[in-house]
Amino acid sequence: MIQWSEKVATGVPKIDVQHRVLIRNFNLLEEHINNRTLSYDELNELLLFLLKYAEWHFGREEECVEETGCYIAELNKKQHEWYIKHFTQLYEEFKAIKDWTEEKLYEWASRVHKELSEWLLKHVIRTDRHIGVCMGKLKPEEVPPPEENLT
């Protein structure tokens, strides 16, 4: 489970609130996996929501970054594009598989959850928190340097 803490916060309320939505839904997916309560329909709904919400959130965040002229803008955008492309490919893979078994569904969901949530957490800590620096909410020394090759 991803725990919300100061280490994840950018200090920019509108960005943090949207990050919390993504984290809450990744945690919900993990809860379903751990409790063995996941169904195909549930997974479909969660993936679609996470994908569409991430897409919307990235757009809002990029607008905010552009307004401040933050040095992280280009890298942030590049990472967002990669994530949405990768997530879309995974979603298409999910829809293309027709012979789901319970075991296969849990295995696939666990792998995808791990991959997508770990990326998101790294991106928030290593990239998004720089937005907090640009907006005067965080000190530069509080934020690790950006990871150029986050894939």
């Binding site: 509108k14 609130v17 939505v21 919400y53």
Partner: protein, 116 residues
């Protein structure tokens, strides 16, 4: 306020709460962020398909006995989301929604004054 009394939130188009009451701060924050995303998506779809703007959205959550109303404020930059008990007489729902809307308008006005 509980679900029996209803709750409301005033949010901006990023899903950030400006004011609200009736649920825990965490719950209101989550509703605000998610419902705003849904409103923005719906507004975009209607605009693209029909070339028109929406001003009001209503929906029900029967299991919780709630009726939701979404109203646009400040030229569509803010949304007022109210959740009222279905069991409440229609006249009372209208009256309460009007009351909340007026409070929200005052909050919006004071925001404008502060910014100005």
């Amino acid at each position: 306020m509980t679900d029996k009394k209803g709750w409301w939130i005033l949010v901006d188009k990023d899903g950030l709460i400006i004011a609200g009451e009736g649920r825990s701060k965490e719950d209101l924050e989550y509703f605000a962020a998610v419902i705003t995303f849904a409103i923005i998506s719906l507004r975009k779809a209607i605009r693209e398909e029909m070339g028109s703007e929406i001003s009001e959205i209503s929906f029900k959550v029967p299991e919780r006995g709630l009726v939701f109303h979404v109203l646009s404020l400040k030229g569509g930059n803010l949304f007022l989301i109210t959740a009222m008990p279905e069991s409440m007489p229609l006249g009372m729902i209208r009256l309460k929604t009007k009351e909340i809307y007026e409070r929200a308008e005052k909050i919006v006005e004071s925001l404008g004054t502060r910014k100005g």
